[in-house]
């Protein structure tokens, strides 16, 4: 009897060991098929930093540049627009954020007139239209989300503020965009 028992334990061990090796093998075989779905080397390289010349953008206007396939808005705000954005800082916003936190941590008074946001609606990714909507910031025509002059969501189905990409001021008239961020 004892000898049969030993035999079974050895066999159980072999089953488990084979199963474990097999599972690792299957997982390693699946991984390349999953990984190929992600951004390829070309898409990752296209994320190199880009400089924007601010001297070309007059007050009250904005430019849209395409970076990593997505639009980025660079808007030169008027004093009135900045004032409107700051006045609303304390109001019950769906995604509370102060205007000063959105224009760049180290921005001085002169730099804080620039608002730089990724131009994709945080609802389902359409491109909002500038200078429109109830708050004169941006309005998304797809499902009716209203953003203010700080790019914050104020009304409509979008859950988050327009995303501020990673950027820094290289000089008084030049800003370097170094990375995108996700809304979440």
């Amino acid at each position: 009897m004892t000898s049969i028992k030993t035999e079974e334990t050895r066999r159980d061990f072999l089953y488990l060991a084979t199963g474990a090796v097999g599972a690792v093998g299957v997982a390693s075989a699946i991984w390349p098929f999953v990984a190929q779905l992600g951004p390829d080397a070309g898409a990752r390289a296209a994320g190199a930093p880009v400089d924007v010349d601010l001297s070309q953008i007059p007050e009250g206007q904005s430019v849209t540049l395409k970076w990593r396939g997505l639009p980025i808005f660079v808007r030169h705000r008027t004093a009135k627009e900045i004032e409107a954005a700051r006045a609303d800082d304390g109001k019950g916003l769906p995604d509370p954020q102060k205007d000063v936190d959105r224009v760049g941590k180290f921005a001085n008074a002169d730099q804080s007139k620039w608002i730089i946001v990724q131009g994709s609606c945080t609802h389902l990714g359409c491109i909002p239209v500038k200078n429109s909507g109830d708050y004169n910031g941006w309005y998304c025509p797809c499902h009716g989300s209203h953003y203010d002059t700080s790019g914050r969501i104020r009304k409509g189905p979008a859950p988050k503020n327009l995303v501020v990409p990673e950027f820094s001021f290289v000089s008084a008239t030049s800003v370097r965009i170094t990375g995108t961020r996700s809304a979440a």
Binding site: D40, P71, H123, P159
Partner: protein, 433 residues
């Protein structure tokens, strides 16, 4: 169903094959001697029509793929090349695009048929769930196919629909993986082309399971009463059902041809003849008509995750229908109260489609200058009824409703000429006076 395997091979070649692979016998018992209820009406012809539409889409699709280029720089022009340069390319493409619409017309009629006559009830639950799986696969296929011409609606439809997944936890990562980059771009178009080619064959596989499940439990019929006597209640599939299906198919193809030859772009959207522009969203973005009711649900919910969940739930809830409907009576023909709620449900689905196609700021009901009800509010009422129908009305109705008396059998219902003579039924077939 028993008693329909009557095939006896006659020629020696057939005997030889049948002894090794009984495929002729299988085809014979499935499509020739298979007993079908005598009282099937024309709403039962859409299964066959759908099968033919699937084959038609695969055939036109394979041919179109020979002329199409899945690359963001060439896709739009290659579709125009098909339209202008390829011999009969315009016809093949119009057959394929309108074919998708006709496919959905047929599948929606097929589904409403099932909803009215209680075709989802025991023992047909698995058959019904396989149907829901086919519907989901069809939707994925149609969506990815619409992306391929790489027009404005293709691109922005793809952006909006892939962004549904960003509503979930880890959604941003998931969406990046769906796209193969940081935006909807060439890798996205390429994989959608690959999957658009694959999915119809998966649909074909599930259709085989659907037909298999159907032939195990047998067809439902307008009375909802099960077949009790094969000789009295049924007729062989060939020639009765085959001829009836063929006639319906001819009528259906006349409508199909009318669209293809006279109004080939009526069901599409003009904006899709503008090449895709990643920096400009069309002012009025709407999906193809067959997605409008679900789009109407999405837009009526002011919350992102909530909207996506309800829209998905509107389809998934169908799979639970066999257990949500508590009534023992299958056919709506014997459920007077159910009929009222059913036809309201049909109207709600149509109105949801209308709401999905309108601008969100549009007023539906006004009093003087004030808007009492806008599209969003209207959509919310309709969405509420859509879900209440499945979650409240059907579960309760089975408990409180007083159904009409059922006929003793299918044969009885025909011979007595009962009130439940279904819509569109051939005048009492096989009647002996």
């Amino acid at each position: 169903m028993q008693g329909h395997s009557t095939y006896v091979p006659k020629s020696s070649a057939a005997k030889w094959l049948e002894a090794r692979l009984p495929i002729i016998g299988l085809m014979h018992s499935s499509f020739v001697s298979y007993p079908t209820p005598k009282n099937l009406n024309y709403f039962w012809t859409f299964g066959g029509i759908l099968m033919v539409m699937l084959v038609a889409q695969i055939v036109t699709g394979i041919v179109l793929a020979m002329h199409y280029t899945p690359h963001v720089d060439f896709a739009f022009n290659s579709v125009e090349h098909i339209m202008r340069d390829v011999n009969y390319g315009w016809l093949l493409r119009y057959l394929h695009t309108n074919g998708a619409s006709m496919f959905f017309i047929a599948v929606y009629l097929h589904i409403f048929r099932g909803l009215y006559y209680g075709s989802y009830k025991a023992p047909r639950e698995v058959l019904w769930i396989l149907g829901v799986v086919i519907l989901l696969l069809m939707m994925a296929t149609a969506f990815m196919g619409y992306v391929l011409p790489w027009g404005q609606m293709s691109l922005w439809g793809a952006v909006v629909i892939t962004n549904f997944f960003s509503a979930f936890p880890f959604g941003e990562t998931l969406v990046t993986w769906l796209w193969g980059g940081y935006s909807v771009d060439n890798p996205t178009l390429n994989r959608f082309f690959s999957l658009h080619y694959l999915l119809p064959f998966m649909i074909f596989g599930v259709v085989i399971l659907h037909v298999w499940a159907l032939h195990v439990v047998g067809q439902n019929n307008p009375t909802g009463v099960e077949v009790k006597n094969l000789t009295k209640d049924t007729v062989p599939f060939t020639p009765y059902a085959t001829v009836k299906d063929a006639f319906a198919m001819v009528c259906f193809f006349i409508v199909f041809a009318w669209f293809v030859f006279y109004h080939p772009n009526y069901l599409g959207h003009a904006d899709n003849y503008i090449p895709a522009d990643a920096l400009k969203t069309p002012a009025h973005i709407v999906p193809e008509w067959y997605f409008l009711p679900f789009y109407g649900i999405l837009r009526s919910v002011p919350d992102k995750l909530g909207g996506v969940l309800l829209m998905g739930g509107a389809i998934v809830i169908l799979a639970f229908l066999p257990w949500l409907d508590t009534s023992k009576i299958r056919s709506g023909s014997y459920r007077p109260t159910f009929r009222i709620f059913f036809w309201i449900f049909v109207m709600v689905c149509v109105l949801l489609g209308w709401a999905g196609s309108q601008d969100t700021s549009r007023a539906v009901l006004t009093f003087g200058q004030t808007t009492i009800l806008d599209i969003v509010g209207f959509g919310q009422i309709l969405t509420l009824y859509y879900f209440a129908y499945f979650l409240i009305i059907l579960p309760l109705l089975g408990l409180f409703e007083r159904p009409d008396a059922l006929p003793a059998s299918i044969a009885d219902s025909i011979l007595s000429g009962s009130h439940a003579m279904p819509m569109g039924a051939a005048a009492s077939p096989e009647r002996k006076v």
